[in-house]
Amino acid sequence: MALTNRPKSGNRTLGNFGESAVADFLSRRGSVIVDRNWRIKEGEIDIVAELPDGKISFVEVKTRSSKSFGHPLESITNEKAHRLQRLALAWLAMHQSLGREYQIDCAAVLVSLDGSFTVEYRENVL
């Protein structure tokens, strides 16, 4: 995918770019984006989406502009993955949705110099 407005600099912009890319990706596959950058004291959930089959998906997005620091998803340690799970439960509790089926997903976005990017989406990583 080529994109004209490649982020200029800064990790924040890069991150936002990646999250939008993943949100686009999910929408195109028929999911509804329910929440973005939902933040509480314990941390942040990048994307909350309702999948076509009714499941709630909590997505952690990792964006990188090069592979030289390893695969983006490698930076998600076990500890981080479990924090995601706690955050997911917290989100469900606050939205009166406890008991609904949900899953934790991860997405890796790799942006190259010419502004093209790839999305690697892994479902149910826990």
């Binding site: 695969h71 998803l73 490698e74 892994r122 149910n124 990583v125 826990l126």
Partner: protein, 506 residues
């Protein structure tokens, strides 16, 4: 296909167990789990394998990788699993053909750039794998010479992961990768011709070589005790192929093949320093039970210089292997039995200052010190030593003599001939060396001539020798008889055997 497998070997002592390495690549966060009781070196394999794969232009799966080493209950150690793990990983990604990789044994450590490094214990691993029906093995190039001893298997030495993968994918190998059967090296032996004088010690060494009798040399520093001991392997018969295989296997596990060619057929000579610990002597270790000096000297000579200086219990720990020809080491991870049938040569000074010999004019030790010094050797260990010889300082005449002593080659020819006679005599028995004749057989079939027995009985009555000593003397007498061509030990043979054992007691 996200499952891949290959074969490695886990060694416990000399016995190897085939280990099936299975790799599963599953979706999920990138991660790596190694199952099957790995030790620290093996746990680190993850990072070596990863770098080696990436630097050989292969793909590292950024997914959840589970590696299982089965049987899972067996503790595994060492770096030789790097290669089978790498192969199973590639098989799981379906980038190498399955049929070629699954029934081949892989041994080798990977360096970060993909080179395959040598590992310990290649020969015993191959022997065990062959017994379990494996016919093809990939070994590190550095271990190729050792591996070629296993002629019953197809051995493929590889120097780099990239070469190995090319072979797996295309069946092609660079021509220099064909296994070159190198011939055994010319072994330099120390020659007995270098030893001036020392007639008694020479005879004792020859008798020791014929019958496998253990030897104690007592003499002042500089008299030539070490020279004589070093020359003993040179007059022993060369090892048979099976024996050489056994010896190389033990040395391969100890990782000490560097100073001994894997193809060597000369009996090993092992000389641990007298500060050696019991574990160094008999073997041990916590997660890898390594053979000790007495197993490294298997089918060869174990020489301990300054024997009375050895720590308490170190020499006595040799009693079990002296008796049974093997040593069983028990540790938390299991029991391991190593063969340990060696010729023991002890050397000692006559006293702490070393000058108490001849007229002992310059000795500065008290009589109490002198007695205590050699007293450390007494007891059950000394009882197992058939030959105890005084090595006196050389006289002027001996040192001036310009003709060299007899060469090792000539002595060895006599030793081999005498051993042949003994082997013929013992062809229906369970033993083949004179020093192994059981006492029961000595009292019946293998008695010396009547006059010789009378002589021994008189000495026994005078309490000059014990009953065990009597049997030891007869065994030595048999070796002397074999050397001099007597069908049965004569009075002269027996008297000489008596002198060789008891000569120092007076």
């Amino acid at each position: 296909m996200t499952l891949g497998e290959s074969l490695g070997v886990a060694l416990v002592g000399l016995d190897g167990q085939l280990v099936r390495v299975e790799v599963d690549i599953a979706d999920g966060l990138p991660g790596y789990v190694l199952l099957g009781l790995p030790d620290a070196a093996l746990t680190e394999s993850r990072d070596r394998v990863r770098s080696a794969l990436v630097n050989s232009s292969e793909n590292w799966p950024n997914r959840k990788v589970t590696v299982s080493l089965s049987p899972a209950w067996l503790p595994k150690s060492g770096s030789s699993f790097d290669l089978p793990i790498a192969i199973a990983l590639l098989a799981a990604q379906s980038v190498i053909p399955e049929e070629r990789s699954a029934q081949t044994l892989y041994l080798g450590e990977l360096s970060l750039d993909g080179h395959i490094r040598g590992v310990r214990g290649v020969l015993p691993s191959l022997i065990s794998a062959h017994k379990q029906g494996i016919t093809t093995a990939v070994v590190p190039e550095a271990n190729a010479v050792e591996a070629q001893l296993m002629r019953e298997m197809k051995i493929i030495p590889m120097g780099h992961l990239r070469d190995l993968l090319r072979w797996l994918r295309l069946g092609q190998r660079a021509e220099n990768e064909e296994l070159q059967y190198s011939s055994p090296p010319d072994e330099k032996i120390f020659d007995f011709a270098d030893v001036a004088g020392q007639e008694r010690a020479r005879v004792a060494a020859e008798v020791a070589a014929v019958g496998g009798h253990h030897l104690l040399l007592i003499g002042p520093p500089g008299a030539g005790k070490t020279m004589i001991a070093q020359r003993l392997p040179g007059i022993l018969p060369a090892l048979s192929r099976d024996e050489a295989l056994e010896v190389t296997a033990i040395h391969s596990i100890a990782g000490g093949l560097s100073n001994r060619s894997p193809l060597a057929s000369s009996p090993p000579f092992v000389a641990p320093h007298h500060s050696a610990t019991r574990v160094a002597m008999v073997g041990g270790g916590s997660h890898v039970i390594k053979p000790g000096a007495c197993s490294l000297a298997h089918r060869g000579v174990l020489f301990i210089d300054e024997a009375p200086e050895c720590g308490i219990g170190v020499l006595d720990s040799l009693r079990q292997p002296l008796e049974s020809g093997s040593i069983t080491i028990a540790r938390a991870i299991g029991n391991v039995t190593y063969p340990a049938r060696f010729l023991l040569v002890l050397a000692a000074n006559p006293c702490p200052c070393g000058k108490f010999s001849g007229r002992g004019r310059n000795c500065i030790c008290s009589s109490h010190q002198v007695r205590r010094y050699l007293g450390k050797l007494s007891g059950p260990l000394m009882d197992r030593i058939d030959l105890r010889v005084q090595v006196d300082p050389l006289s002027r005449v001996e040192l001036m003599a310009s003709d060299l002593g007899e060469s090792s080659e000539k002595i060895r020819a006599r030793v081999i001939a005498a051993r042949k006679v003994a082997a013929e005599r013992f062809k229906n028995e369970e033993w083949s060396l004179n020093s192994h004749i059981p006492s029961r057989a000595l009292r019946t079939t293998y008695q010396p001539e009547r006059v010789a027995m009378n002589f021994l009985h008189t000495e026994l009555d005078r309490e000059h020798i014990t009953a065990r000593g009597l049997h030891k003397i007869i065994r030595t007498a048999w070796s002397l008889a074999d050397l001099s061509g007597h069908a049965r030990p004569t009075l002269a043979d027996t008297e000489q055997a008596f002198l060789l054992r008891e000569g120092l007691a007076s």
